[in-house]
């Protein structure tokens, strides 16, 4: 995850309280989604950015996960995400992000 984005997530978690922040991912691949999810929950696994060794424990989801889809107006979801549902590997991405969330998210 981009070092500047890590800092912005860290700042928001401090400002609003980690229990009030949800991180929504849009990564195109499962591995990248998993790395980003781990960064905002357990800490930066590459030990390169502001979240290295910082476990924010934030709730983290990917826009393609069924839990997220269920919360959004179907017309809006179809207009904004419907095409990418056909392009990306929804199952692999959902499985990866859910697994990280269940391990490290505290909220």
């Amino acid at each position: 995850m981009d070092l500047e984005i890590q800092q912005r997530v860290k700042d928001m978690a401090e400002k609003y309280g980690p229990e009030n922040v949800i991180v929504m991912l849009g990564s195109a691949e499962a591995e990248a989604a998993g790395l980003a999810a781990e960064t905002v929950s357990n800490g930066d696994p590459t030990y390169a950015g502001p979240l290295a060794g910082v476990s924010l424990g934030l709730a983290v989801y990917h826009i393609l996960e069924p839990e997220v889809k269920a919360e959004i107006d179907p017309t809006v979801y179809d207009n904004e995400v419907g095409m990418m549902e056909m392009v990306l590997d929804v199952d692999a991405i959902s499985k990866e992000v859910k697994s990280i969330r269940e391990q490290y998210s505290k909220y």
């Binding site: 195109a28 691949e29 591995e31 990248a32 207009n79 904004e80 995400v81 419907g82 095409m83 990418m84 056909m86 392009v87």
Partner: protein, 506 residues
């Protein structure tokens, strides 16, 4: 009348030493004193290896993208036999010749070359189709000791195989926008653009004096501390290229720049303001070796060792060359939004909808044509393939394709990535030349050129951007039926009768 694509040229410059010295990744790694730099030096390709690399042969036009698709990957392990450094409309230039070209393009005595090096290049210069015309402008060079003194004062070294052969000096003592590094970037961009423009006119028998306007569309900025992006690369490039009747200006839009430039050039020609407008983009030093860390990690050669360049001539309709259909223009607007679906809808689908066409009516789409062999090890995937999947998925959503037909659509309407990751260079324009030839030969009837740009990188806006334009077979110039005397008499009689009837009413 629609304007036409009259000619296109594509050049690469193999610059492994500039990559090590000036590439952003290498600079950052050198500053952090990691062991990457030692590793990087072991992963450098020779000029011959760069020439034999199939994607490079596709970029300069010796093979079509379709032929490249059938060559097994990894391409760097399958050198292409019968490769040549020259093509019909371009070349791959080695670094030593490029240093000479940089000196030719340097108007402020900033590129200092070793006198023995310049002398030893005499034979190569005399044989090169572009350099030989500038032979009398090449300065003799200076002693190595003087070059070392300049480097001691902040100049960027120019090397060949590790040996010092010159340097680029700073152009001002205090102004960071005229630092030696910035001057290296800008002179390299200028020189590669000049090379593309010279091939454009020389290889296509175009009179350089017929070019009236040049639009430069790279991603560099030239200017001083009081006007950082003042410009004007276009005029600077036109001067050296010998376009004595031209002026020009720079168009900037990150990677979308070239497609914006193509549309702007077409508009200028269609409006009748100019008959011949050249668009040109030189290479980006900063992006050399950009994904080098991942290439070294995967024990691959540093494939980002070439500067890219291209030039396209947009001219008034000649009834033969493919037209730029200015009625089918896609654009990502401020209100569009940045979800991939909205982006593809606005740039690709909306203009076709407005023209009463479907996504399957376009024979070939030219998207971000990055070579996947460069991007995949860095985790960015196959960029053109992802774009084609999105276009196919949108066609399914619009009911123009069934889901089972998606793979077939991607194969038929897509192309393999073959361009170096030089930002604006791979963006849509690499296929303008091949599309021109494929339309002329009747292989395809049209192609959509798509340019997309990540404006947010400049931290001025979170907006994304993109535009598109369609090239089509020239239907020919319809001959207007001659108006004879009898016809004129009838028109006048009709007008007089009309006038008389109105007078009667009063």
């Amino acid at each position: 009348m629609y304007p036409v694509i009259k000619a296109a040229s594509y050049i690469l410059v193999h610059t492994p030493n500039i990559m090590i010295e000036g590439g952003t990744t290498q600079q950052l790694e050198r500053d952090s004193q990691s062991d990457y730099m030692d590793q990087a030096l072991k992963h450098i390709r020779s000029f011959q290896e760069a020439v034999l690399y199939a994607p490079n042969q596709a970029y300069i036009g010796n093979i079509t993208p379709e032929v490249l698709e059938n060559i097994p990957r990894p391409w760097y392990k399958n050198p292409l036999d019968n490769s040549s450094r020259y093509s019909k409309h371009g070349e791959i230039m080695p670094e030593d010749e490029f240093y000479i070209l940089m000196q030719i393009c340097d108007s402020f005595d900033l590129v200092k070359l070793d006198k023995d090096f310049v002398e030893n290049m005499a034979s190569k210069i005399s044989q090169h189709p572009v350099l030989r015309d500038y032979a009398d402008k090449i300065k003799p060079g200076i002693n190595k000791g003087e070059i070392e003194a300049f480097i001691g004062n902040g100049a960027v070294p120019l090397r060949i195989n590790g040996n010092l052969v010159g340097c680029v000096r700073k152009a001002h003592d205090k102004d960071i926008n005229l630092s030696s590094h910035v001057m290296l970037e800008n002179i390299a961009t200028k020189a590669s653009a000049v090379l593309a423009l010279r091939h454009l006119v020389q290889d296509n028998n175009i009179d350089a004096d017929s070019i009236e306007y040049v639009i430069e569309c790279s991603e560099e900025a030239c200017g001083d501390m009081n006007q950082r992006g003042g410009g004007n690369f276009a005029k600077a490039v036109a001067e050296i290229a010998g376009f004595s009747n031209a002026t020009g200006s720079d168009t900037r839009a990150f990677c979308a720049g070239p497609t914006h430039a193509l549309i702007n050039a077409s508009a200028l020609v269609k409006a009748g303001i100019y008959k011949n407008v050249a668009i040109v983009g030189g290479g980006a030093v900063a992006k050399l070796g950009m994904n080098g860390r991942d290439h070294v990690k995967n024990d691959m050669p540093l494939l980002e060792d070439v500067l890219g360049g291209f030039a396209i001539l947009v001219s008034e309709n000649d009834g033969i060359n493919p037209i730029v259909n200015t009625d089918i223009i896609g654009r990502h607007t401020v209100k569009t939004g940045s979800s991939p679906q909205q982006v593809i809808q606005s740039i690709v689908a909306d203009p076709l909808d407005r023209a009463g066409m479907s996504l399957t009516d376009i024979d070939k789409y030219s998207v971000e044509m990055q070579n996947p062999e460069i991007t995949e090890p860095a985790g960015a995937g196959d960029v053109p393939k992802s774009n084609y999947k999105m276009i196919a998925a949108l066609a399914v959503k619009k009911g123009q394709l069934t889901r089972a037909e998606m793979d077939g659509f991607i194969d038929a309407h897509g192309l393999p990535g073959f361009a170096p990751t030089q930002g604006h260079i791979p963006s849509g324009v690499p296929y303008v030349g091949p599309a021109r030839e494929a339309i002329l030969s009747g292989e395809i009837k049209n192609a959509m050129i798509i340019g997309k740009g990540s404006l947010f990188l400049g931290r001025m806006t979170n907006q994304f951007d993109g535009v598109s334009v369609v090239l089509s077979k020239n239907p020919g110039i319809a001959e207007e039926s001659p108006i004879n005397e009898d016809k004129i008499r009838k028109i006048i009689a009709s007008a007089l009768r009309d006038l008389a009837s109105h007078l009667g009413e009063d």
